[in-house]
Symmetry: C2
Subunit: 342 residues, 2 copies
Amino acid sequence: MKAKITLKKIAKGFDVSISTVSKALKDSHEISEEVKERIQAFAKYYHYKPNSLALNLRNQKTKTIGVIIPQIVHHFFSKVISGIEHIANEKGYNVMICLSNESYEKEVLNMDMLASGVVDGIIVSVAKQTEEKGDYTHFKELINNGIPLVLFDRKIDEIQCNKVLVDDFGGGYIAAQHLIDIGCKKIAILTTPNHVTVGNIRLEGYIKALTDNNMLVDESLIVKVIEDHDIADQIKEIFRKSNCPDGIFAVNEIYAATAVKIAKNKGLNVPNDIAIMGFTDGLISQFSSPQLTTVAQHGFTMGEKSMEILLEELNQQDTDYQYQTNIISTDIVIRESTKKTN
Amino acid sequence: MKAKITLKKIAKGFDVSISTVSKALKDSHEISEEVKERIQAFAKYYHYKPNSLALNLRNQKTKTIGVIIPQIVHHFFSKVISGIEHIANEKGYNVMICLSNESYEKEVLNMDMLASGVVDGIIVSVAKQTEEKGDYTHFKELINNGIPLVLFDRKIDEIQCNKVLVDDFGGGYIAAQHLIDIGCKKIAILTTPNHVTVGNIRLEGYIKALTDNNMLVDESLIVKVIEDHDIADQIKEIFRKSNCPDGIFAVNEIYAATAVKIAKNKGLNVPNDIAIMGFTDGLISQFSSPQLTTVAQHGFTMGEKSMEILLEELNQQDTDYQYQTNIISTDIVIRESTKKTN
DNA sequence: AAAAATCACGAAAACGATTTCGTGTTAATA
DNA sequence: TATTAACACGAAATCGTTTTCGTGATTTTT
C-alpha cells in the first residue's frame, strides 16, 4: 500500500512551503514561472490529486448528493437513478446511492450516514415499512438540520419538503378508462395493501373512472395483494369468482404478467376473453406475450426533475423559499394485451 | 439553512474546551460525571453527529467503498449491487454506486472522483467502451496509488488485481450441450462483437461443446449483434438462411426474447420447431412466453464475493499479498423454451 | 508535613487543502 | 540616495474531530 501523495510531501521534496505548492498547482501569479513548472511537472508525473475529504471539509460542501431507494432490482427506480445521474453529472455533482430494501431501519441508518456531512442534499423514495410505521422523525430531523431533501414517487403528506410525484390518480383513471373504452364491463384491479400510497391512489383513480362511467364498483373485484404471501395464489382468486372479470388493471408489471400467465393457463385468450394491463413500462411489459398495455410513469423524467429541484434548493438564498410538489403525468402505452381482435 | 452543530459550538456554550466536549461525548473517565451528563444531554437534544468528513480525514479511511457499473437498468448488475450491499452492511461499510454507462470517459471520471479519498476501495465492472479501447491506465494508476480494486464480470487480463468472474466458458458450454442433448442439430449463437469479453468467452464454450460432440461449427450460425443497429433486424437474418437453425443460444436475455418473438412471428413453434435459450436469469426470462431456459449467473453471489475479497484486501497487512481470481459457476435453468413436447 | 498519586481539564498536533496576510529581497521610481 | 513598488514566497488560520501530553488543583499516602 503506497502512501498517497500530498501537498506536504511535495513541499518537502522541493524544500518549499505547502502554500507555495498549493499556489503553484493553481498556477498562481505569486509563484515564479520556474518553480511553478517544476512543481507542476512533478505533480503531473505522480498523478497528484487533491484529497476530496480535505477540500470538502474546508469548503463545507461535497458536490455529492445522496439517493435512498427501496429497491434496485426494479425498472422504475433504475430509470429514476439514471435521470438523477444525468442532471447531476451535467452540473458536476456525484451521486451516492443507498438501498433501504423497504426497511425502516435501513432507511434511518442510510440517512444518518448521509446526513453526517458526506452529501449536500438527499433524494429519497420512502420505504414501504416506513409508510406502514408512519414514523417520519428522521426526515424531520434532516430538514431541521438544514439539509435539502426531495421526496419522490411515494406521497408523504406529513413531511414538508420538495416532492416529485407520479400522477398515480390520473394513471389509474386512464387505465380504467381505457379498459372501459375497449368494452370491458367487469374490471378488476390488482392493487397493494392500503398503506402503500401509490397503489392506493391508483385505486382511487380506477374508482373515479368507473363512477364517472356510471359503473358499479364491485368490492370483490378489488384485490389487495399481500407480498408476504404467494402472489399468484392471491391473483387466482379473481378467476374463481362466479363473476370473473373481462378486464384487469394491475398496479404493477409483476401482477399484470402474473395475471396474464394465470389467464392463459385457464384457457382464456388475452385480450379477447380478458384484457389485462399494468403500470410501469418496463422490460416485462415489453417482452411478455402478449405484450402488455401499461401506464408509463416516466422514471427518467422523475429523476431529472428531482435532481433539478434539489439543485434549486441547494442554490437558493431566500429565507422565504417555498417548497414545491411536482407531478409527472403518465401516459398509456397500448399493446397487444388490450387490443381485442374480435 | 441552520448551521450544523459542532464540538466547537458545544464547547463555547458550556465554556469548556473542545477536547473536553469530545471526551465527554465518548464517556471518557477523564471528565467528571456532572460535566459529562450535561454535555451528553445537550448533544442528544440537538442530535449532534460527528462530521464524517473530519473523521475520515483524521482516520485516513472512510468505511465506504465505491462501485462502478456500466448500467443500472440491468437485472444482473442490480443483483450484484444487492450482494455487495449485503456484505458491506454486515461489516459496517457504506456503498457508493456510480454509473459509467459503458463509457470510457465516464468510467475515468468516476474513478478519479472515488480515488480522491472518498472511498477505501473500489469494485468495478469495466465499461464496454473501455474494453474496446483497451486503455487501462486509470486502473493501473489506481493500483499504484494503493487503492484496493476488485474487478468483476468482465475479464481484463491486462490489469493485475483481485477478480470475480462468471464462468462464461462453462456457461456457454452447458448451454450448447443442453441444446444438443434435446436433439438440436443446427445450433445458432447470438453473441456480441469480439471486444466484449463475456460474449466472446461464452462463444468459446459453445464452440467447445459443439466440437466435443463432433458437430461442425457453422460460421453462418454465429451472429455477432451490433448494438448500434437494430437488434431485431440482425437476428432476423438467421431465420432467412436456407439452413435455418433448430436451436438458438443467445448470450443474454434481450437477444433470446427477441429471437423468440421473431420465431413466433415466422409461425415457428418454440420449442418444438426451434429451441431458444438465453443467459442471465432475469425478469424477462421468467415472464416471457414461453418462459425461457437460461444460464443463471448468480449475480448476488458475485456481489457478495467481490465485497468479501475487497474487505480481505483492505484488512491485509502482508507485503506478499497474492491477488486471486474467483470464478462463480453457472447453472442452467430449464424452462418451457427448450422443453420439446413432441 | 512532605511526597506521591489522582482528578479534571486544556493546549496543541494531526489529517490535507486553501487563502489571507505578512515579510524579506530586489527592482523601479522620485 | 531614499522611497516605493513589485516579486516570490512563508506563516498561520480554518474546516471538525481525536488524542497525546501537559498542568494546576486536590487528595491520598508515607
